[in-house]
């Protein structure tokens, strides 16, 4: 007897958000990237449509990062040179987007000026033609000086700029409104604050299809299951028609993975753990693929080998599974 597959039909879907703007749209990108639009749980192609492939943005920084040797051996030659780093990610490693983290603006680090940061963003925009994600150094006061200037310098490019938080969203939302960018709304692993922040941002009249949710994930072994349950609830909400949880999701996977002990300690300290280089890549790849299946649309990654592994997984997951 044939087995009848029970299929869920959902009344609603995840919003589609487009990042980047071509010349005709007022920017300079060669193409735009659209994420979201899913009308089913992640990769349940037989229950709805998954119109857009999840994308990978490779992280670059405006300074020489304090990353470990596994990353340094692959990327060290371009550190300190964001334009070459960006080009390498796009041309050699197949990044769909560039994620420029302006950690050099941190007051306790290089303390780069807002002008210098804006200049860096412009030079990266000139060096690569893919859409760009730009985030500040996560010090509120400094980000509120830097990001409006970045938004102005890149006006019309439809960058994805982050991050707005519940206690600090007005400055960035206004800058994104005026200069036509999209925004990352970050909440601290809390579905209620996530929804509230989306309401606050849309109340300032930034359209909901220009918001991406950053739920502040945990890496493998460091709370990934909390991230998983938040992503699941948000997706179920979106599919049931909760408009304030319907935005696509971004996840800071590289950042969370590479700061773990497991990705960093040497084999000399933990002989049973295997080589640190492979361990780090796998830690990032397993974090990424787990969250991918929980419904992340934009993956922020660091290691080129992880990117390759995750792209292969996305290829497999995007094959239609019809019953």
């Amino acid at each position: 007897m044939a087995v009848a597959i029970l299929k869920d039909r959902n009344p609603s879907k995840v919003l589609e958000v487009t990042i980047g703007a071509t010349k005709e749209q007022g920017g300079t990108r060669s193409h735009t990237i659209t994420v979201g639009g899913d009308s089913a749980l992640p990769f349940m192609h037989f229950e709805g449509s998954i119109p857009n492939r999840p994308v990978i943005a490779m992280e670059i920084q405006d300074r020489i990062p304090k990353w470990n040797d596994s990353l340094k051996s692959e990327l060290g030659d371009v550190w300190g040179n964001p334009t070459e780093w960006a080009q390498k990610c796009v041309e050699d490693f197949g990044a769909n987007l560039i994620y420029l983290k302006l950690d050099g603006s941190h007051p306790d680090e290089e303390n780069y000026s807002p002008d210098k940061c804006a200049q860096t963003v412009k030079s990266v925009l000139e060096a690569v033609s893919v859409p760009l994600i730009v985030c500040g150094c996560d010090v509120e006061e400094k980000d509120n000086e830097v990001l409006p200037l970045v938004a102005e310098a890149a006006a019309g490019e439809n960058l994805l700029i982050g991050s707005a938080e519940q206690d600090n969203y007005k400055t960035l939302t206004a800058a994104c409104m005026v200069h036509k960018h999209s925004i990352i709304a970050r909440s601290p692993l809390d579905i209620n604050i996530c929804k509230q922040l989306n309401i606050l941002i849309t109340e300032m009249n930034l359209p909901s299809d220009r918001i991406i949710i950053d739920p502040a994930i945990g890496g493998l072994g460091y709370g990934i299951e909390y991230a998983y349950s938040i992503l699941e609830r948000a997706r179920l909400g979106a599919l049931q028609g909760d408009k304030m949880l319907s935005m696509p999701i971004i996840a800071t996977i590289g950042y969370e993975s590479w700061k773990t002990k497991e990705a960093s300690v040497s084999i000399d300290d933990y002989p049973n753990w295997g080589q640190q280089v492979e361990r780090g890549i796998l830690w990032e790849a397993v974090t990424a693929t787990s969250l991918l299946q929980a419904g992340v649309h934009i993956l922020l990654l660091r290691h080129p080998k992880t990117v390759q592994l995750v792209q292969n997984t996305i290829d497999e997951l995007m094959k239609p599974n019809q019953f």
């Binding site: 849309t202 408009k243 304030m244």
Partner: protein, 265 residues
């Protein structure tokens, strides 16, 4: 919670007058007001005294749809008036209503299927409203079986267990709540449920309070829809809060505001 706005009803003087004079102003004002209040559907009832029920229904449907995109709930005992109204509806409507009486079911269910409408089935027959939950459930079961027979999708069947005013039939409210709970076990997928909320407080002194409390109680028993006063702000607040407490909606600090303004987004 789906709210069906009750106000476009010839029982109200201003609507009765509007129908008589073919002056759409009051109808259209109430359509907009109820939409702003957070109604999902608008009930359309020509009222008891209308001479030309078919013509009045067609006119109400037309003038209402001129000012709102909300779907309609056509409320009449005259299936000809309902069918003529259904022909004009731009979105799948709700037929309000049929009893479980066989002759009526045989007309009403095929009508719902033909126009892709949902239909409200009352748990009664020509003998009137039953006293207890068990008799209400027996009628509900007949309606469920009829849905199967006439190939009406179960999601399109909405069962009304019929609430009566608290001051004349106090013993009915607990029976209605018991019925609401058990209707969900009659089929999988289960039919939906609705009550004419304002009935519970007919001629009582603190009507709004009774409506609010009963709505919360009924929602806890699985109620899906209510024909209600969409402009009773505090009633909408109760609906929004009950959704949160029943874990039907994800909490956020602005949940009440979000519920009330969802039609304006």
């Amino acid at each position: 919670m789906i709210i069906i706005g009750e106000r476009i009803n010839g029982m109200f003087k201003d609507i009765k007058q509007a129908i008589l004079e073919k002056n759409p102003k009051a109808v259209q004002e109430w359509a907009k007001r109820q939409e702003d209040g957070g109604a999902h559907y608008l009930d359309i009832n020509v009222g008891p005294g209308s001479a030309d029920r078919v013509g009045a229904m067609k006119w109400l449907v037309e003038v209402t749809q001129e000012v709102t995109d909300l779907p309609l709930c056509l409320d009449s005992t005259d299936f000809t008036a309902i069918e003529e109204g259904l022909k004009l509806c731009k979105k799948p409507a709700i037929i309000n209503s049929t009893s479980a009486q066989r002759e009526k079911v045989e007309i009403a269910f095929p009508l719902a299927v033909k126009y892709n409408a949902s239909i409200i089935g009352l748990t009664m027959d020509k003998k009137g409203i039953p006293k207890d939950a068990d008799s209400r459930l027996a009628f509900a079961m007949e309606l469920v079986a009829a849905a199967d027979e006439f190939e009406l999708p179960m999601e399109n069947l909405i069962i009304d267990p019929l609430i009566l005013p608290a001051n004349v039939a106090q013993d009915h409210a607990p029976e209605v709540l018991k019925t609401l709970l058990q209707i969900k076990m009659l089929a999988n997928p289960a039919p939906k449920t609705v009550i004419g909320l304002s009935n519970v407080s007919q001629n009582c002194s603190d009507r709004h309070l009774i409506n609010r409390v009963f709505l919360a109680m009924a929602m806890a028993c699985g109620l899906d829809m209510a024909i209600a006063d969409a402009n009773d702000d505090e009633l909408m607040e109760v609906a929004a809060t009950a959704e949160i407490l029943l874990n039907q909606n994800i909490y956020c600090d602005s949940y009440v505001k979000l519920f009330k303004t969802r039609n304006r987004a």
